[in-house]
């Protein structure tokens, strides 16, 4: 299963809601404002580093670029993907659930 999260974890509870239910080993793609969750040096970085050990966490590169963030500012263990890989993930991982 592929979980999609699109809101900033500083503003909304959707990423937390997803992490509470998504079984270990499932995949989570952060896109739109959720890409801020993948940043180094924030109050959430430690929790996200942990989450990346139990889940496959991806982050959408064009949404990072749009916001002035680059690969170097991203937490280790979070995998940058472009839109083509986003499409591949939806094909490869089974049912897609959006956490809205």
């Amino acid at each position: 299963m592929l979980h999609l999260v699109n809101k900033s974890p500083f503003e909304r509870n959707t990423l937390e809601a997803c992490l509470k239910r998504a079984p270990k080993g499932s995949s989570i793609l952060l896109y739109e404002d959720a890409v801020y969750a993948a940043l180094q040096g924030t109050t959430l970085s430690a929790a996200m580093t942990q989450a990346a050990k139990t889940h496959d966490i991806y982050v959408l590169t064009p949404d990072l670029t749009a916001r002035g963030l680059d690969g170097a500012s991203i937490l280790e263990g979070v995998r940058p993907v472009d839109y083509d890989r986003f499409v591949d993930l939806t094909a490869d991982k089974g049912t897609v659930q959006s956490w809205l």
Binding site: V87, T90, V96, S98, L100
Partner: protein, 119 residues
Amino acid sequence: MKYAILVNEGPFNHQASDSAYQFCKHALQKGHEVLRVFFYYDGVLNGTKHSAPQADDRNIVKRWSQLGKDYHLDLAVCVAAGLRRGITEEVVAPGFRITGLGQLVEAGIDADRTIVFGD
């Protein structure tokens, strides 16, 4: 893969419509099929022909119409949600059609993947 796409939010105010568009474009370019793009909730607002954003900005409505034309997409606007929000036959943009909510469920049955873009 056959995709059904649900767009929950209108143009500009939320990125949801942009993300859905980018996803569809890339999926189609990779040779996947998009069975239907269904516009529900405020998503119906993507279907107004009166949208005229500034010249230096993207035209989200026209862009959907064009993608629909290029790939023979079914751009389906929910009639009930549209009535609430003033998206009726009088204002619907080229390439979009107004239809019932059952068409979303049908698309979900026929598609390999259903993906929701929202707020």
